[in-house]
Symmetry: C3
Subunit: 205 residues, 3 copies
């Protein structure tokens, strides 16, 4: 739980102060979380995080700032990082990579479900459905998506090549979803990916 | 929670009495709930409720009575209305329209999940799958279906044109589902929509 | 809850001792549970259990031993049987048949969800999706799959002819799933069904 006190943010559980962490609503921030025991220990290079950022760079025409983190497969740590990126940094979108399989250490969906207000099952269905065209083990993925306040959180697979496939499958619905939860207004590069918005939701450029 | 006391029904929370609300099992009732802040305040015309009723009129050959309600996007109010239509009115089927998106005020699925004994994920999957053929933002719908005693409850989208698409996608399974939970025996107009029942479940006409 | 005490296993709830129930990790065991009030009372022949075993015999090249049980649609009994087959018998895979519909007595998914650590929604989606090609009432199935420790549990329909359709739809992902949860290494008869494993996960034969 976060407690806001004047210009500082206190974590109720450990009283650790984060100075100057006042949310700036005017700036569009996107969070990138790589969940991997080995990458967090530096045992191998994080490929998922950069793959997600590279995809987003191609997809978005709007300005945005990246907030990135590489962390171990620990449920409480994932939850804390999601909460900080959502509530403190004010990210409109957070994408995670890794930790969505059936293994004991895979706990990213559990952490995501815990911090979200609403789960959007359609994202998971659509990502699995598209991944199934590539590999029958796509059904093993437990990746979910949901909202926390004005932040949309999407779990992506750990495999870098599968990240693009999944984002391509769901991103056309992402900008309008973030409109509905009152986050930033995202615009896509139509030559790369076309987002759908009902006419009444489009801002004039 | 409902407390039955002789021929009256008492709401435990507010002690409001509903006279003569004894359930009549012989009559087939279908509940229609429009969940919309603005429609409930009369700020615009309820189009979803009439669209659901018009569809049902075309689909069903059996006699039935409509029980309709237009209410605000308040979770406790939606729950109370679902419980009343299921337990007091004895509706075999309740369809809702509205409140299934990701926005903060969208709480119809939460209310439905709270009052249901069993959730039938296949309805949600099938409705989203069909809606995806029309619009990529179909994955944002959190509509669910489930059973409460002998009542089947189905969430439909708020957009009137999408109501028919979703009902068409799942209705072939609805009459047999209601048989299995011991609700009314529904018969469809086969020229409009064909319901599936295993042979052993068909009544001779 | 199971309490392991030296070479015996005690059920905390009833103190019933099961002698010599020490798990042998070297042997591959598969559990088959038929959930049916009538079959458990001997009122009709269990066809689902043998259908699941016959399918597995065709599918698997590896050696395995069957552990089979025919039980009533009682949630606590299903849970107890799943726990015993997983924790005491050490089954790497448990398949169930029956009790997945919307009727009041159908409680197999509830029991499965209760004993599982993780639910794998992709199995349910894929099984319903394939069953929908045969019958529109496939959306009524609430069958799920999940893991309990090193055991994968899959709910299958009650109808014997639908068992093969569902197993065919998900089995290509089963051996790798069991690898990931550190269960037995299963090999399939490729002429019957081809399982997918990433190259790094394949054992040399």
């Amino acid at each position: 739980m976060l407690i806001f006190k004047e210009n500082t943010v206190l974590y109720a559980d450990n009283d650790k102060e984060i100075q100057g962490a006042v949310m700036e609503k005017c700036e569009t921030k996107i969070g990138f979380i790589t969940v991997s025991d080995r990458a967090s220990r530096g045992e191998y290079e994080d490929l998922g995080g950069p793959a997600m950022q590279a995809w987003m760079t191609k997809a978005l025409k709007s300005d945005w700032t990246a907030v990135a983190s590489v962390i171990a497969d620990e449920q409480s740590l994932i939850e804390q990082t999601l909460i900080e990126m959502a509530d403190v940094e004010g990210c409109s979108l957070i994408v995670t990579t890794g930790g969505t399989g059936p293994a004991k250490r895979d706990v990213t969906p559990e952490a995501t479900a815990t911090v979200c207000d609403k789960i959007l099952d359609g994202f998971a269905e659509q990502m699995r459905s598209v991944s199934l065209q590539y590999v029958p083990t796509a059904i093993l993925s437990r990746q979910i998506a949901g909202t926390r306040g004005s932040t949309l959180i999407i779990n992506l697979p750990g495999k870098p090549s599968a990240i693009g496939e999944c984002l391509e499958a769901v991103f056309p619905a992402v900008p309008y979803c973030i409109d509905l939860i009152e986050g930033a207004y995202l615009e896509t590069n139509d030559s790369f990916i076309i987002a759908f918005r009902p006419k009444h939701a489009m801002k004039q450029s």
